[in-house]
């Protein structure tokens, strides 16, 4: 039987009883939450993990077929829930993880009490009247950039990442420097992320949710946050002062404040 906790490099911390599960976005791993979880450690049980293919997950568990849709990643989430026997949780998802969390919560709504979406988008590509922010050409441009930076990527990784099984302290040190996936997996995840369309799933969500929308985010523009809010039941929309797509990293204080405000409401 697969050890899910190992496969997804699941980390549990915090002093509370209710679980807050943090799902990282595309291109990173659970380290991106380090500033945010500080704000919740004393009140919640904090669960962070890496999707298969990201961070310190088991890369051998990656399957192009399973992860060819966001639903494959939603199964990762639900399997982590099952492994930890989590119920009555708050799921915080950044970027594409908002949609992954949404899919998981549609499948097993009983496990979730609230969802927090950070910079969500149900559809990145423009489509008729729908404004997602991207043209297909932009994505091709991005994929080319990812190809171009393959070498840059591997240089950004510690070259000694290979063969450290007998030196666990090296892996420990790397977790502080390492925020990249295998380039091929990154490419496939990018395609799944940017080409998926979850607009039809929005009305199916019954769990209450918060949309944290940055001002000036080119990945998830404000129109997209509004679209989310308009098509979700029981959704609260908060526009942040923070700019960019990663408020949890660029403006952790404001992000924590907004989340707490919603949770304590």
């Amino acid at each position: 039987m697969t050890d899910i906790l190992k496969r997804n490099h699941v980390t549990v911390s915090g002093n509370g009883t209710q679980a807050m599960v943090f799902a990282h976005g595309y291109g990173c791993d659970q380290q991106v939450w380090s500033d945010i979880i500080k704000g919740f450690l004393s009140d919640y049980k904090i669960v962070t993990f890496d999707y298969v293919g990201a961070g310190l997950s088991d890369l051998d568990a990656y399957s192009s077929q399973r992860y060819s849709t966001l639903n494959g990643y939603a199964q990762d989430v639900l399997e982590v829930y099952q492994a930890l026997n989590l119920k009555d949780t708050i799921l915080v998802g950044h970027s594409v993880s908002s949609m992954i969390g949404l899919l998981a919560a549609i499948e097993k709504p009983e496990l979730f009490s609230k969802l927090i979406f950070l910079g969500p988008s149900p559809r990145y590509l423009n489509d008729g009247d729908y404004f997602g922010g991207f043209e297909r050409q932009d994505l091709e441009d991005l994929f080319t950039m990812m190809d171009n930076n393959y070498l840059g990527w591997s240089r950004a990784l510690a070259p000694s990442i290979m063969g450290n099984a007998d030196r666990p302290e090296l892996g420990e040190r790397l977790t502080n420097n390492f925020c990249a996936t295998d380039p091929e997996i990154a490419q496939e995840f990018a395609r799944v992320t940017f080409l998926s369309d979850n607009r039809a799933d929005l009305p199916k969500l019954t769990v209450p949710s918060l949309t944290l929308q940055c001002s000036k985010d080119i990945i998830a523009p404000i129109q997209v946050g509004q679209y989310m809010h308009d098509h979700l039941q029981h959704n609260t929309l908060m526009i942040m002062d923070a700019e960019g797509h990663c408020p949890h990293m660029s403006a952790p204080a404001e992000t924590i404040r907004q989340m707490q405000a919603y949770l304590n409401k």
Partner: protein, 492 residues
């Protein structure tokens, strides 16, 4: 001026601002939100902007492609946050006029005492040239790969085995056919496997002439028997020519191995035929000469005159034999060159069968049993078809001397075809030989039996029947006899 003052003076000569502005790479700094707060002249020139159009006016992301913006948000910025320094990220910068150039960006983070990211300092290298070389390299590689696969395709599907060897004679490439023949694993050109399949009698010549070619630089050519997958040896012509560089030095050998088994076998048969033909002709000529000598010596004596009729009869018989042999040879070469003309006419088959082979019928040793519809008519050259029948019947007499009856049968096998067969009650023909009996120079040779003849008779029959548009064949059972048959177009 003391030492310290002097150094301070020298330091004052270093114009940091000018160095910053005119460095061969771009410098710029931006805040956490991407707002550009300082930029050097080099980067401004590359981008085609005035300073005030950028500083405090534009964001880093305004200067890069759309894909770059996404990349910035999803990878670059999180990476900066986590690592505080990110090197060699390839962004496409957009100039004021909308054109692009690729650049590598190295970035380091300035943080507050609380660890908050305040600003990013970045250097920019224009890599337009490198990109061009890279893409040319990539194109060249693609071209080379395409050429290579085209060559391999050609080389693998050519009917010969193709190989190359180093100047020293070591095999370094073999095509698929070569690999398959010698059952070599994917990349190996191990000669041990190869030598096992060379006939032991040919190995020495193969290697010694190869060594000689390598030493002399002259073309390599030899023949050897190689064992195919069924374990049979087949003759191959093995050749190689030296490929020389501009200085005339041999850099490679290009070789081929061609199956010449059919050719070699035909040559062997031809040699054998010449020896058989010489022998066959020599026998009646020797006998003829003997008769003539006797005639000459005794022509004036009375007892000699008494011998004359017998000697003349002997001479005549041998001359007829020689004539038959030469006719066969002429027939063969005429047939081969397509010079034999047929006089086609309506021929009554029953009549033809009745009149054929008076020499056999007249002798009374064999009975020719004819079964034929008296009305049956074919389109044929009567003389040529008679020649075929004579051949068949003579064979029956020759190979089945103890039989008493030879059956001549003609029947309609479909509306348009008549099948004529000559059946003997002789020993029959072994099945593995049946397919060869109509070949040129083929002679049945049973152990203990030697039959005379050129081995041309049945070959000529087959050619004649084919010229009539018919088929020829033989059905035989060992111990029961053989049926030689042919078909002809039926006349209506």
């Amino acid at each position: 001026m003391n030492d310290a003052e002097h150094k301070a003076f020298l330091d004052s000569l270093v114009d940091l601002s000018s160095l910053y502005e005119n460095a061969p790479c771009g410098y710029f700094s931006f805040t956490r939100t991407g707002q550009v707060i300082k930029i050097n002249k080099t980067l401004l020139d590359w981008l085609g902007y005035e300073r005030e159009q950028i500083v405090y006016a534009l964001n880093f992301t305004d200067l890069i492609s759309r894909g770059g913006k996404i990349y910035y948000e999803m990878f670059y910025f999180p990476l900066l946050q986590l690592q505080s320094a990110v090197n060699e990220i390839n962004f496409d910068f957009i100039r004021k006029d909308g054109s692009r150039f690729p650049a590598l960006v190295n970035s380091t983070v300035i943080r507050s005492s609380g660890g908050e990211l305040l600003a990013v300092n970045a250097t920019v290298y224009d890599i337009t040239d490198r990109k061009r070389y890279e893409s040319e390299l990539l194109d060249a590689k693609k071209l080379a790969d395409a050429e290579r696969s085209r060559f391999e395709f050609l080389s693998d599907f050519i009917p010969d085995m193709i190989w190359t060897a180093s100047a020293e004679g070591k095999l370094n490439y073999v095509n698929k056919r070569f690999r398959d023949f010698f059952e070599l694993p994917d990349t190996s050109t191990d000669t041990a496997n190869i030598f096992q399949k060379v006939h032991s009698k040919d190995r020495f010549l193969l290697v010694s002439s190869w060594v000689k070619a390598i030493r002399s630089g002259q073309d390599y050519q030899t023949q050897a028997r190689l064992m195919d997958s069924t374990g049979d040896f087949q003759w191959y012509l093995v050749r190689a020519v030296a490929f020389r560089n501009r200085d005339g030095v041999i850099v490679k050998w290009m070789g081929s191995s061609t199956n010449i088994n059919t050719h070699v076998t035909a040559m062997e048969k031809m040699d054998e035929f010449i020896s058989v033909a010489s022998h066959e002709l020599k026998t009646p000529i020797t006998a003829l000469l003997g008769s003539l000598q006797v005639m000459q010596r005794f022509k004036d004596s009375e007892s000699g005159l008494k011998m004359m009729p017998r000697l003349i009869e002997q001479s005549h018989r041998n001359a007829v034999k020689i004539n038959e042999l030469i006719s066969d040879l002429l027939n063969t070469s005429n047939l081969k060159e397509g010079q034999m003309a047929l006089n086609m006419a309506r021929v009554n088959v029953a009549e033809l069968l009745k009149l054929t082979c008076p020499h056999v019928a007249g002798e009374g040793v064999f009975e020719l049993v004819i079964t034929c519809d008296p009305e049956l008519v074919v389109i044929a050259d009567e003389n040529r078809i008679d020649q075929v029948l004579v051949n068949f019947v003579n064979n029956a007499v020759k190979y089945a001397p103890d039989g008493e009856q030879i059956f001549l049968t003609a029947e309609v096998i479909d509306d348009d075809l008549v099948r004529i067969a000559v059946q003997d009650t002789g020993p029959g023909i072994a099945s593995e030989r049946i397919s060869s009996v109509f070949d040129r120079y083929y002679r049945v040779s049973n152990a203990g039996h030697q039959y005379s003849g050129l081995g041309l008779g049945l070959y000529i029959c087959a050619e004649l029947v084919r010229k009539h548009g018919g088929n020829i064949g033989v059905d035989s059972q060992l111990g029961k006899g053989s049926t030689f048959w042919f078909t002809l177009p039926r006349a209506k």
